[in-house]
């Protein structure tokens, strides 16, 4: 085994000299290709000396005997040997890659020191071991040096702060877009993340550092990293555009690459002249650089506002919570609180002042519609961190505004619906931190605000929508309590409208009510006769509503029964036994169920009044629906009889025929005759045999539809 020791120690000794040479003359070295390979084995080999040397240190702390000494002797020897060759390779690697910078220098010095120290410890082991103090102190020294060297090396490969990074990433950002700058917050971040590991002030591969403006503008050994305004001369750009397989492509193939967006930002920045101190928001909002930068920076911006006060204790908050006083944390980790009040009757001044223990933490206060007084505001004014105050529709007046304006952090004030005047508003405007004020529905006139809006252009003064006088729109329809139809005696009709303060006017002659002369509705109308009731609503500041027109038919003499002597068409004979006297004023939409239809034969119906009755008119509800081939009857006739056998003609009308298609409607046809007494009344209606020439069904038979029949005197 001796020979191994011999060979190894000789090699180490030789290596020590070689190390001395490369260490001193590293800037003059010309490294042949095969040696480059050896240099690149530095990261592989370095783990051996670290392990061996650390093990060897143990020997200084344990009692020695022959067998352990033997083992540790080998450990020390091979530790020194590998340390020396690792150091040599490291210097070769650094020279080949052209790495520069402080970290490298420290790594080089400490690494060489480790190698030399390791050699000394091996060579004088027995002497050192004989002196306990010396042994321990050299052991500690070697340990420290090894760890330090290792740390510098790791910094070179993994980048600055790699080790401690996890401790810092959870720190929430406080950056806002308004203060973000294009270089420090965007470009520098890209450089640091994608280039910074190898190109920083302490590790300048290729002589290039991208850590600050000096390094960026100076460039590296290959030339200018960046020429403002000239992409083709800027190596950071041209290198990034080389194919990934190219040796000169940057970042190197095994490192995280620039994303398309990052590259676009760098290009836009360089084309803009590579400014180092420009705020993002000062760049034109349509500029590519601004759009890209805003997009890029979004994840880095502060998600939460930072507050410099401590959170209130959970138990304090819980004690103050009630069903009418809601206290909420703004966010899971935020100390800030939002307080809202609900339920007017549950609010009084102490509801506010009880919050003293959390005074510092309240940043939002919502007390809209609560009877908050000026006296209460003097308490609110002492909230040191309040930002948002909403006291819409409360009792605050101008007196409170000075108090609010004196608050240091306040920036949003809502006083809509309060007694605030222009004077109060001006007091508020004295606070330069305030960015928005809501004064809708107050005595302040929009015109007054417009007059000062130039002076306070940066403040949003919202006077909201005020259309009470200016916007003229149509009122909706009045609501009449009874729909069109039959009534018997003294029928009261109520008319309502959803909007307060409207005037309801009506007529009973079928004309549209107007806003000045028509009857004004004040109490329910009582009907006694067949009436067409037309109703409209009016109110100043509004257009009058549409006319609601209802037709009320007074029910006639009761009919004991009726018989259809000719049957209606089978398609339109629903409810044939009752439909003519059921007091349902059918309208045209229900012609399949509430009407009797005739096409090929005349309609004949005999009414039995039960006993002879004095009558003078018969009303027949008929249908007019030209597009459905339903026309008025060609003739409508009435007969009277007391024995249901001999009939006396009473009336005969020929209704006017339409001359073109029109919208369908129900039409009440009236048969009038001199008063006479009959028990039986017969009505016949003749459908049109051939539809007229203008009609789409010309020449074919038309229809006659009838419904309710009313007999009156």
């Amino acid at each position: 085994m001796k020979w191994i020791e011999k060979v190894a120690s000789s090699l180490a000794f030789a290596g020590l000299f070689l190390l001395g040479i490369v260490f001193v003359f590293d800037d003059k070295l010309q490294i042949p290709v095969w040696l480059q390979v050896a240099g690149r084995m530095h990261p592989l080999l370095l783990h051996l000396p670290i392990t061996l040397l650390l093990i060897s240190i143990i020997s200084y702390f344990i009692p020695s005997n022959t067998s352990t000494n033997n083992v540790f002797g080998y450990v020390r020897l091979f530790g020194a040997l590998t340390a020396i060759f690792t150091a040599i390779m490291g210097i070769l690697l650094a020279t080949e890659e052209g790495t520069e910078g402080d970290t490298l220098q420290w790594h080089k010095w400490s690494g060489t020191a480790v190698a030399v120290l390791a050699w000394i410890l091996y060579s004088y082991a027995s002497f050192i071991q004989s002196n306990k103090k010396l042994a321990i102190s050299t052991g500690v020294l070697l340990f420290m040096l090894t760890i330090t060297t290792g740390h510098f090396g790791a910094t070179l490969t993994h980048g600055e702060g790699f080790l401690t990074a996890p401790l810092y990433t959870n720190e929430p950002s406080t950056l806002t877009l308004a203060e973000a700058r294009i270089y420090p917050n965007v470009v520098a971040t890209i450089f640091k993340e994608k280039c910074g590991t190898c190109h920083n002030n302490s590790n300048k591969k290729g002589g290039l550092s991208l850590s600050d403006s000096v390094g960026i503008m100076t460039g590296g050994k290959s030339g200018k990293a960046l020429v403002a305004g000239d992409l083709l001369k800027s190596l950071v750009i041209t290198r990034a555009h080389l194919p990934l397989s190219d040796k000169k492509h940057m970042p190197p193939i095994d490192k995280p690459q620039l994303t398309a967006a990052e590259l676009a930002i760098l290009e836009a920045w360089i084309q803009k002249g590579a400014p180092f101190d420009t705020k993002i928001t000062s760049i034109n909002s349509t500029d590519t650089l601004r759009i890209l930068a805003e997009e890029y920076i979004k994840p880095y911006l502060a998600k939460e506002e930072k507050y410099d006060f401590d959170a209130a204790s959970e138990s304090t908050i819980d004690k103050l919570k009630s069903n009418y006083r809601v206290i909420k944390q703004l966010g899971e980790k935020s100390p800030a609180l939002a307080v809202s009040f609900y339920g007017q009757s549950m609010y009084n001044s102490s509801t506010l002042t009880e919050l003293d223990p959390i005074k510092e933490q309240i940043v939002h206060l919502y007390a809209a519609k609560m009877p908050v007084s000026d006296a209460d505001v003097s308490w609110i004014g002492k909230l040191p961190n309040l930002k948002r105050l909403n006291v819409n529709y409360s009792n605050v007046t101008d007196k409170s505004m000075a108090e609010i304006a004196s608050m240091k952090k306040i920036n949003s004030v809502s006083v809509a619906g309060t007694a605030i005047t222009m004077q109060g508003l001006k007091t508020l405007l004295g606070n330069k931190n305030i960015t928005e004020i809501f004064v809708w529905d107050t005595k302040i006139k929009p015109s007054d605000i417009k007059a000062i809006s130039k002076q306070y252009a940066q403040i949003k003064i919202d006077y909201g929508f005020d259309g009470a006088d200016t916007l003229i729109i149509t009122l909706n329809d009045p609501v009449v309590s009874l729909p069109s139809g039959y009534f018997k005696e003294n029928q009261p009709i109520e008319i309502k409208h959803v909007i307060k303060g409207v005037t309801i006017r009506y007529t009973i002659d079928g004309t549209d009510p107007d806003s000045s002369t028509s009857l004004v509705y004040s109490k329910p109308i009582v009907l006694n006769n067949t009436t067409t009731l037309s109703v409209r609503a009016f109110k100043t500041g509004w257009k009058g509503s549409a006319t609601v027109r209802n037709f009320y038919m007074k029910a006639g003499f009761p009919v004991a029964g009726y018989k259809l002597t000719t049957p209606p068409d089978a398609k339109y004979n629903m409810n044939a036994a009752t439909v003519l006297t059921d007091l349902d004023l059918a309208d045209y939409t229900d012609f399949s169920s509430k009407w009797l239809g005739y096409q090929n034969n005349e309609a004949t119906v005999v009414l039995d009044m039960g006993s002879p009755v004095q009558t003078s008119r018969i009303m027949v509800n008929t249908l007019h629906a030209t597009t459905s081939y339903i026309l008025p009857p060609v003739s409508l006739m009435a007969w009277g009889s007391n024995d249901n056998k001999t009939w006396k003609p009473l009336a005969n009308i020929k209704p006017e025929m339409p001359t073109m298609n029109d919208a369908p409607f129900a039409q009440m046809l009236e048969l009038k005759y001199p008063t006479a007494s009959f028990r039986y009344l017969k009505i016949t209606g003749q459908p049109i045999k051939k539809l007229p020439s203008w009609h789409q069904g010309k020449g074919t038979p038309g229809w006659f539809f009838m419904s309710e029949i009313t007999v009156n005197n």
């Binding site: 997009e295 979004k298 998600k303 939460e304 506002e305 069903n323 009418y324 809601v326 909420k328 944390q329 703004l330 966010g331 899971e332 935020s334 800030a336 809202s340 609900y342 339920g343 007017q344 809209a368 519609k369 909403n390 819409n392 949003s412 809502s414 809509a416 928005e436 809501f438 809708w440 529905d441 919202d462 006077y463 909201g464 929508f465 005020d466 259309g467 009470a468 916007l471 729109i473 149509t474 009122l475 909706n476 959803v498 909007i499 307060k500 500041g541 509004w542």
Partner: protein, 484 residues
Amino acid sequence: MEKELLEHGLNANRRKFISRMSLGLGSAALGSLLIPDLFGGKESAEDAIMKAVPHIAPKAKRVIYLFQNGAPSQLETFDYKPMLRERMGEDLPESIRNGQRLTGMTAGQSKFPLIGSYYDFKQYGKSGAYVSDLFPHMASVVDDLCIIKSMHTEAINHDPALTFFQSGAQQGNRPSMGSWVSYGLGTENNNLPAFCVLLSRGKGNGQGVYSKLWTNGFLDSVHQGVQFSSGDNPILYLQDQAGMDRNARRKMLDKVATLNNLEYEQFGDPEIAAKIQQYEMAYRMQTAVPEIIDTSKESDSVIKMYGPDCLVPGTYAANCLLARKLSESGVRFIQLYHQGWDQHGNLPNEMRGQAKDVDQPSAALIKDLKQRGLLDETLVIWGGEFGRTNFCQGPMTVDNYGRDHHPRCFSIWMAGGGVKPGIVHGETDDFGYNIIKDPVHVHDFQATVLNLLGLEHEQLTYKFQGRRYRLTDLYGNVVNNIIA
């Protein structure tokens, strides 16, 4: 002797075992630090949610979702496609349709003739966004709107599409969006439910709405949407019976609570405690609700802004006004549904009526929240469950046509609550058929709404039947570009 040796060996083993054991326990404890949920030592995501505090500081505190049920056509609202007019009647190229499935209603059509909007479009506001002539009021607030023209969904029929929008799944056993929000953020006003539902219907061809759309699913029943009906008694079973005096009710509740507490002490069932609280809340709602639905104090200016129909209970306008009042009183999530947007035929005519119902009140809601300083913290959403085809369904004339269901693109808008005002997000092709820029899937939309409320959609979970569920299922990306 042998026995003693064995004993010694066993003892040694026992000692060794116990000392090893303590080491083992030590390392297990160390290991458990790396696995927060292992021993329940650290709070789980659900525990954090139970505190009802947002994950991050919210931009919006409340939501008013104006759901346009039946799916209004994007081509007659916000997605201006002049080419469809020029090429009216031409068949939709297969290269554009690209295998899109059809509903049973148009699958039998031999041709898919393109049809442009009957209504003209104009540009409005500083943003210059296009809005159709049907919506003059919305056009007047366009600079407050964030119009998303690139929504897309997976469903092609109403029920699954609606359910998907509301619950993140088409099948319909999951909690509705409002329920998730109630679960995540709790109620703001303890005297009102956190999730309220208001219904109205227009004259257009309608599709039903049903209570499964506002179900709490597997979440606790306190998170269920509470439907307000029109009329004197907006919440069923809330009012005391005639003749019952409030003190009597109080006494009765106290007695019931005493009995319930006895039961609770015996069994410790949290449902009993919940029940007691819900009785108390209902009691407080008895005074809070009449205060809120009272519109008699609304000024003429407000009434004109929403239109006079806002005083007619059950109309969309009345629901918008009520939504503002509820939101102002701290209700977290208010879901409106306006039916009647399913224009398979007679589209120009029916849409005119529908637009008349919703245009003015929707715009008024934004203005009203704004002038009260509440728009910043209230997110308003307007939109349907999918879009409509760029080709005609059924007979076609310039002024009378129909459009079938179309899931590949449609338009919605959001306003307030931390979305960028006055922007248009996303783009569709000239045919108005496919999205060409910034698609927003329904899950993306849901993730974004939750994000605006300060909730991380991936953390808002509930464990049920052995797995964790979330509103966005397994998908969804926050659309950062629309967040201010």
